[in-house]
């Protein structure tokens, strides 16, 4: 059917889905634990297809997130750029890690992502709570094996059908 190496439908739909999931209304306490969907999909695509998705993808998605959440224009873009850079720089190593080690790298990258957001908020003088900031990192890491498994499965199915 579609060759996963040139297919745009799957990546594009994951990007749109990630953007939508990051603004879907959730009740108060659950919203604190909303995973960082956008950096998660950026990490996935930058690791499995670094020659197609990289810094520009990360920046555009970041700008879209900035517009959606009404944050400072460039705040999420900067955080995604850092995550994208780390992925591209180390994708050869991360790709061959076992799942738990991969999750640790994702933990590190999500923590860096939240730190950049936190740092920009602080520099711009916006008041934000401190502890709740780290909850999405935890849920993000717990979701990572699921995202990895699902997307890998879909891509393999597509490849088999070509």
């Amino acid at each position: 059917m579609r060759d996963p190496d040139t297919d745009w439908v799957l990546p594009l739909s994951t990007f749109v889905l990630a953007l939508a999931l990051s603004v879907v209304p959730l009740p108060g306490v659950v919203a604190t634990f909303r995973p960082d969907w956008i950096p998660l999909v950026i990490i996935y695509w930058a690791i499995v297809a670094p020659e197609r998705f990289g810094l520009l993808t990360a920046m555009w998605l970041g700008l879209a997130a900035d517009t959606l959440t009404g944050s400072l224009l460039g705040q999420h873009a900067l955080a995604m750029l850092v995550v994208g850079y780390l992925c591209l720089r180390f994708h050869l190593r991360i790709r061959i890690f076992p799942v738990w080690q991969m999750s640790m790298s994702v933990l590190f990258m999500l923590a860096v992502y939240e730190f950049v957001l936190f740092w920009v908020d602080g520099a711009a003088g916006r008041t934000v709570p401190y502890v709740e900031r780290w909850a999405p990192v935890i849920t993000g890491v717990l979701l990572w094996p699921l995202i990895l498994g699902t997307l890998d499965r879909i891509r393999q199915d597509n490849k088999a059908r070509v």
Binding site: P25, L68, G70, L73, L78
Partner: protein, 294 residues
């Protein structure tokens, strides 16, 4: 092909590190400009058109559920609700009758005192989009934008009181900052004695804090806070909240006062946009005087 820090897909020969640096500088300068003033509002509006479909799609199931639950609710409960609303309306109408007389009297007295009459504010109903913004801030989006004449700093009410103000206007939507946002403050006065102060948001939608009241200030639990109209953003005289707790500590200069917002900030579906009285003063101000002369 994928040498770390090397060529990316053969598309470009610029090293990864350099591209990262350039894009970082780009987004940093975007942030600097955006933080200083609103030169970037055009750019933001263009982006907002691109993400508008996502906002609508996310919001759709919640809107659809409302429609379905109305059409599925049975006849008896609808009839009950109808009867309740009718009696409610009757009560309001009775109150409004007195209101008309009071308003005329108020205008007459104000004319006698030679001060400008207070005029009615123009309002527009806006629907809240079921979209979550930054969870750490008390903000949401509404379905009115540039085309409806919304402007930054415009006051927003709900059925019970002041809800917030407009923080940013996009093409089809606007971003609202609630009075409970930690970065927001409302000038208020105590309805009982006219004591003026400022109500600051706490980040919790059920709490406002009044940090600028001295220990001997005349304020007590249960006092109604209304907007004072100072600051020029909010129209005066609308309820803002009710004091729920006053803590006076002997060693401290200032009392710790906590108020509960009058508006149901976390349960609203619809809000009212208010155009301040100055915009309509020219027309309604004169009619107000004419009514008095009759």
């Amino acid at each position: 092909m994928n040498v770390p820090g090397g060529v990316d897909g053969g598309r470009t020969a610029v090293p990864l590190g350099l591209r990262f640096l350039l894009l970082t500088v780009f987004s940093l300068s975007l942030m600097l400009v955006d933080n200083r003033d609103d030169h970037l509002s055009r750019l933001r509006q263009i982006f907002s058109v691109a993400v508008y479909p996502i906002q609508i799609t996310v919001s759709f199931p919640f809107k659809a559920w409302e429609v379905v639950s109305v059409s599925l609710s049975d006849r008896v409960s609808l009839l009950n609700e109808n009867a309740e609303l009718k009696s409610e309306q009757l009560k309001h109408e009775v109150r409004l009758q007195r209101m008309a007389a009071l308003e005329a009297e108020n205008i007459r007295l104000r004319v006698m005192l030679d001060s400008s009459p207070r005029v009615a504010d123009r309002v527009l109903v806006a629907e809240i989009l079921a979209v979550d913004l930054d969870p750490y801030r008390q903000r949401f989006s509404i379905n009115r934008g540039l085309g409806d004449g919304v402007y930054v700093g415009q006051a927003l009410l709900d059925a019970n009181g002041i809800a917030g103000q407009i923080a940013g206007v996009d093409t089809f939507t606007s971003e609202v900052i609630l009075i409970s946002d930690a970065d927001h403050a409302v000038p208020v006065s105590v309805n009982r004695n006219g004591l003026r102060t400022i109500a600051v948001g706490t980040g919790d939608s059920r709490r406002l804090s009044l940090p600028y009241l001295t220990n001997n200030a005349d304020i007590e639990s249960g006092d109604l806070l209304v907007s004072s109209g100072l600051g020029g953003v909010f129209p005066s005289g609308y309820p803002v909240g009710r004091v729920v707790e006053v803590r006076r500590q002997p060693g401290q200069l200032f009392a710790e006062v906590v108020a509960e917002p009058a508006a149901e900030l976390n349960r609203d579906r619809e809000v009212l946009l208010v155009w301040a009285a100055e915009d309509t003063k020219q027309s309604t101000g004169t009619t107000g005087l004419a009514e008095v002369e009759q």
